[in-house]
């Protein structure tokens, strides 16, 4: 037996079709709860993952339902890591979180939600496609 504790890793390969979003949401909440977050944080983490997937569907694949999205959720020693990979159009970095907070414009809310909920967020282009990585730390109360 290894001294390193085994941790949960969930991997989804989903078409870029919004009808699969509830399936992923159904898994993220219980995963966050198992790691140790309370109910409202589980809802927020689920929302952040859903928003990241919706952004890929909307902006990378322009709502075409036949694109591929790979989602990996990894329990880590200090929380949760979410990784997304797609082969659609690369995100326009200048448009991410470009919306003024609290304004009455309907667009650009998703990236703000992700940034607000997660502790770190990164976007990068790799030979495999567009990579999105977000981490959330579990802050244990003493």
């Amino acid at each position: 037996m290894s001294d390193t504790p085994r941790r949960l890793r969930i991997k989804f390969e989903m078409p870029s079709d919004p009808r699969y979003l509830p399936v992923v949401r159904g898994a993220i909440g219980p995963l966050a709860a198992a790691i140790g977050w309370e109910e409202s944080e589980c809802r927020a983490i689920t929302l952040a993952v859903d928003e990241a997937l919706a952004n890929v569907i909307r902006h990378a694949y322009h709502k075409r339902p036949d694109g591929l999205i790979e989602l990996e959720c990894l329990e880590s020693a200090d929380g949760l890591e979410i990784k997304l990979l797609d082969t659609g159009d690369a995100p326009e970095m200048s448009k991410i979180c470009a919306r003024e907070i609290g304004c009455d414009q309907p667009g650009g809310l998703g990236t703000h939600i992700i940034k607000e909920v997660m502790d770190s967020v990164s976007y990068e282009q790799s030979p495999d496609g567009n990579r999105f990585v977000a981490r959330k730390l579990l802050r244990k109360t003493p």
Binding site: R43, D50, G102, D104, P106, G110
Partner: protein, 109 residues
């Protein structure tokens, strides 16, 4: 997601049940945009919404702006803690008129 619309005086009350996300928000948008020109006020009941994402919130902002253009009222009521949380995260709650109950939303309390 299920949507229903009923008339209460010169207002329309729109009830939504289920998840409002990227896949379902276009149907809500369609219903709200169709209701606005046909009533003095549209009140949206959010009590039975289990989940709403930013596309749902964006829909509500679009409808609010159209209501202002048409000089109609668009109000929300019955926010669950989950829906309130999404409004808090998006910082847009202040632009809406939000009430606890249908009677308050319609001004009949």
């Amino acid at each position: 997601m299920k949507i229903s619309v009923r008339d209460v005086g010169d207002a329309k009350v729109v009830e939504v049940e289920g998840d409002v996300d990227l896949g379902t928000s276009p149907a809500l948008r369609r219903t709200l945009f169709e209701s606005l020109p046909r009533a003095a006020k549209v009140a949206l009941n959010l009590k039975a919404i289990r989940y709403i994402d930013s596309s749902g919130i964006a829909t509500l902002i679009e409808v609010l702006k159209d209501s202002q253009r048409l000089k109609k009222e668009f109000v929300l009521f019955g926010l669950s803690p989950g829906v309130e949380e999404v409004f808090r995260l998006t910082h847009v709650i202040r632009i809406f008129q939000v009430f606890q109950t249908e009677q308050e939303a319609l001004g009949t309390a």
